[in-house]
């Protein structure tokens, strides 16, 4: 079989991180942390190099306006947008991992390799309309993440979190597979695009409904929507900080981009019972996610668990975009995800930048740190206010666009719930600001700080600053991101399906 140039350029984006992921273990063969520093640096460099190479490749595709495809694998604008999103998140995570793993004293190349495999899976997940390929992508992105959660074996929570994630994730994956099987059985095709003309006839069939719901469940688990969210806080708490950030941003993003591609086009936007029921389920899930995520986040004492619940609540806002279901709402979701990338990677990176390794991630540990590193504190404040959705930060415009479409579609009640939820969220995001600037450090922390020299985490600090600047830039020039990138991604990407 000979591949055409079009087909090659479609799979290149998958090949680059995949091949780099295979190469990395060669550089990482060691059992007991004996590697020289330059070898470690080389591993990180290979990972970054692969991510950057892929990034430049995909941006050049975007620049040329090329939308190659290889069977059901479509590297269209939407997939390119999602790929760029995932690659930037991964690159930030790699930079933060360098500092975090050194703080933990457990620098292993496997982590990078797993991360790259996960990235490959995510790109596959976002760029396919074939349910079987989607399942492959789902597994390829999930399994490395299970292992990544338990990377830091010396922490006793690590294994627990990994196993918890693995078991629940496996159930969700099997649900997804079952949904695929049912839909295949009823329609005779695995391609979501090909299912469209068949759906109106089958709309009333309960098997189709069950299939769609099981499929949806797989997605909802990945974006940690209530009631499939229980794994989130435990897993985030036990995972290395950058990996937790990566999971919260990239996994959620990949699942939502895939959802944007598959759901509205193939399954929901059909007349009849199916749409009403799936819509109702989405509304219920989104409302529960908003309420539960925000209220539980209020009671947390650990910043990482708070961020976990905050990521649940952000899944709620994003699902509101799915509820609205117009292309304008999808543009809003794309916009929201990009600003979420910046603000959440900033928030998780903050923990690494302040050198809070291990379980020392409570509000107490943050006390007074803002004055010690004012530039980081400033970036943290920007990220927190953006997470809370206060203008003029990027987070505000994401919410603005989604709420605007939601209201235009007549869901005013949901929009009111959404703004009330973000009001609640202000209270817990401000706690971080209060801890950073308003509270004096504990005496024990002071003593420790004077005994041990402060950990220098220049790469992680750099990423936090970049994130802060990015959040502000998105907030000051929202029109640029929304019309130049998100709008073209959604409109040109979805046109292929119609």
């Amino acid at each position: 079989m000979r591949l055409t140039p079009d087909q090659i350029s479609a799979i290149m984006a998958l090949l680059i991180p995949g091949v780099a992921g295979c190469l990395l273990p060669l550089a990482a063969i060691d059992k007991d942390q004996n590697t020289q520093k330059w070898i470690r640096a080389a591993m990180f460099f290979i990972a970054l190099f692969a991510l950057m190479g892929c990034f430049f490749y995909v941006t050049s595709l975007w620049g040329k306006g090329a939308q190659p495809s290889f069977g059901p694998l479509r590297m269209d604008r939407l997939a390119q947008f999602a790929t760029i999103f995932i690659l930037i998140t991964a690159a930030l995570a790699v930079l933060q991992l360098w500092d975090h793993l050194h703080q933990e004293g457990w620098v292993k190349g496997e982590a990078l390799s797993l991360l790259l495999f996960s990235v490959t899976g995510m790109i596959l997940f976002c760029s396919s309309t074939n349910l079987m390929l989607l399942f492959l992508g789902l597994e390829l992105l999930s399994i490395p993440l299970y292992a990544l959660t338990s990377t830091l074996r010396q922490r006793h929570e690590a294994l627990e979190g990994g196993v918890k994630y693995f078991i629940t994730g496996a159930v969700a994956s099997s649900c997804f597979l079952m949904g695929t099987v049912l839909l295949y059985g009823m329609t005779g095709t695995l391609d979501a695009a090909a299912m469209i003309p068949l759906m109106p006839k089958l709309g009333g069939d309960p098997m189709v409904l069950i299939g769609v719901v099981l499929l949806l469940l797989g997605f909802l688990f990945k974006i940690s929507a209530v009631p499939f969210h229980q794994w989130t806080p435990d897993v985030y708490e036990s995972a290395p900080h950058p990996i937790a950030g990566f999971m919260s941003v990239a996994t959620k993003g990949a699942a939502l981009f895939a959802l944007i591609r598959i759901f509205p086009a193939a399954l929901v936007r059909q007349e009849g019972i199916l749409q009403g029921k799936v819509q109702a389920a989405l509304i219920l899930v989104a409302a529960l996610t908003l309420i539960l995520g925000n209220l539980t986040a209020l009671t947390q004492t650990n910043v990482k668990r708070m961020l976990a619940y905050s990521s649940i609540s952000h899944a709620g806002y994003l699902l509101l975009g799915m509820v609205a279901g117009t292309s304008q709402a999808f543009i809003g979701m794309g916009f929201y995800l990009v600003s979420y990338l910046a603000m959440n990677m900033g928030a998780f990176g903050l923990l690494t930048a302040f050198g809070l390794a291990g379980g020392r991630t409570t509000y107490e540990d943050l006390r007074g740190l803002g004055w010690k590193r004012p530039e980081l504190g400033f970036a943290a404040v920007i990220c927190m206010f953006s997470l809370a959705g206060i203008p003029p930060t990027g987070g505000f415009y994401g919410k603005y666009m989604i709420f605007r479409e939601l209201i235009a579609q007549g869901h005013v009640g949901l929009a009111v719930l959404g703004v009330l939820a973000s009001l609640v969220s202000v209270a817990y995001y401000l706690r971080v600001v209060v801890a950073l600037f308003l509270e004096k450090p504990l005496p024990s922390a002071e003593r420790e700080a004077s005994e041990h020299p402060p950990l220098v985490a220049s790469l992680a600090s750099g990423t936090v600053l970049v994130c802060g600047v990015l959040v502000m830039l998105i907030g000051i020039f929202p029109g640029f991101l929304s019309s130049v990138f998100a709008q073209r991604a959604v409109q040109e990407g979805l046109n292929l399906l119609r």
């Binding site: 304008q328 543009i331 809003g332 206010f385 206060i390 203008p391 003029p392 505000f396 415009y397 603005y400 666009m401 709420f403 605007r404 479409e405 209201i407 235009a408 005013v412 929009a415 009111v416 703004v419 009330l420 973000s422 009001l423 202000v426 209270a427 401000l430 209060v434 600037f437 308003l438 020039f477 929202p478 029109g479 929304s482 019309s483």
Partner: protein
Amino acid sequence: MISTWINTHLLTFLVFAPLVLGLILLCLPQKQAPMAKLLGFLGSLGVFVISLVHFLRMGGHSYVENLPWMTLVNIPVDYHLALDGLNFWLVLLTTFLTPLTLLGTWASLKERSGLATALFLMLETGMLGALLAQDLFLFYLFWEAMLLPMYFLIALWGGEERRYASLKFMLYTLAGSLLWLVALLYLAGKSGSFAPALMAQTALTLSTGIQGILFLAFALAFAIKVPLFPFHTWLPDAHTEAPTMGSVILAGVLLKLGTYGFLRFALPIFPGATLHYAKPMAILAVIAIIYGALVAMAQKDIKKLVAYSSVSHMGFVMLGMASLTIIGTQGAMLQMLNHGVSTGALFLLVGMLYDRAHTRMISDFGGIATRMPVFTFFFMVVTLSSIGLPLTNGFVGEFWILNGTYTSAFGWGRALACIAALGVLLGAVYMLWMVKRAFWGAANTDEHSGTAHLTQDLNGREIAVMVPIVVLIFWMGLHPQTFTAISERPVAELMAPFQPDAPAKMAEVAR
């Protein structure tokens, strides 16, 4: 070159110059705090002078800047700033109070005063932007942008309960503005624009019930900021805990943005709903007047007393607007300025007292008059203006408001005017009673607190701060036309839909 740019982009310059200056000050090291304060003061003084010079030369022509900014989810957002009769004096008040406050609180903050100055300048940007913005989305952005610097001013330099007060301030204000945002988005979605004029046209096509709900959402956001009676509880906490500069600008300008929002947006966009809800608004305003005065009377802390007097005074502004008469609204416009000047001055004076004695309890003082005669002179003048003594500014505003309410076409006008007049009386009672106990009574004999610390009268800097205020107080009292002439026409246009040229309709709703 710069001066020509300023000439053509005066409003942009006014709004963003403090922000740029603030960002520069933010980058100065902490050791340079005196330098930062000096730069902040001179910079904001420069902004004031430029605004004054340009505005006085304004003559007939008005300042407008209108550019398309961006299109988000199919709705265009304009960068539309304009100076007109409604915001003219409020803008000047803001640029005037900023350098004055910075000078007046020069020595108040011991720690990180450079940072406080920077935040204060950013706050000025938010206030000026909100006052000048003509596009509702732009207004919303500036409205929210005022929150953050104020939050940090309270949270970082506040008193004992600063964390509670700052959080309460944040959550209360956001609660109103977020629900307002939903209404704004609803209306913008219907009209496809954020321009108030287009929104008003669209609002007319909506059903009365929806208009009412939208108006209430607008009103809630503004009423919390004013603050109107049941939503006022954040104010005393915020005022008491905030550092002096925060209190001054909070009372001086921030609260005005609530009433200004009513005048600028809520009334013209929803004339029908305004007519319908005028009565509840007036009743709440009268409750605020009486309740605020009574609670102020019971206070032991001078600053808290002034804070509650704010609730009472802002009640007058709301009452004047709710009367929907031209004279009442003109009175409200003037009362906004009065309150900004007098209450701002009161907070400054209380701050000066606190800097010396480190207490604000009335019972810790007594006999201030004998120890600080100059201070007492200024305090008395400001007190009398706050009470509304004829010849001072307070009198004209309150008189016009009561006049407007009494003569309004509403059936409830006379009764409410009479009750509100009682509030003027109560105002005299709590202020003078406080002055009597703190300034004239027997001195507190305790060696370690209160009066004993008052060894120095006002210095030159503090006198320099108070003199312009006193001049202004008498100017506004003796010749209020200076300050109301420009708003005559816009207010008349604003009130035109409510005037009894449709008497039947008025009577019907009023009943």
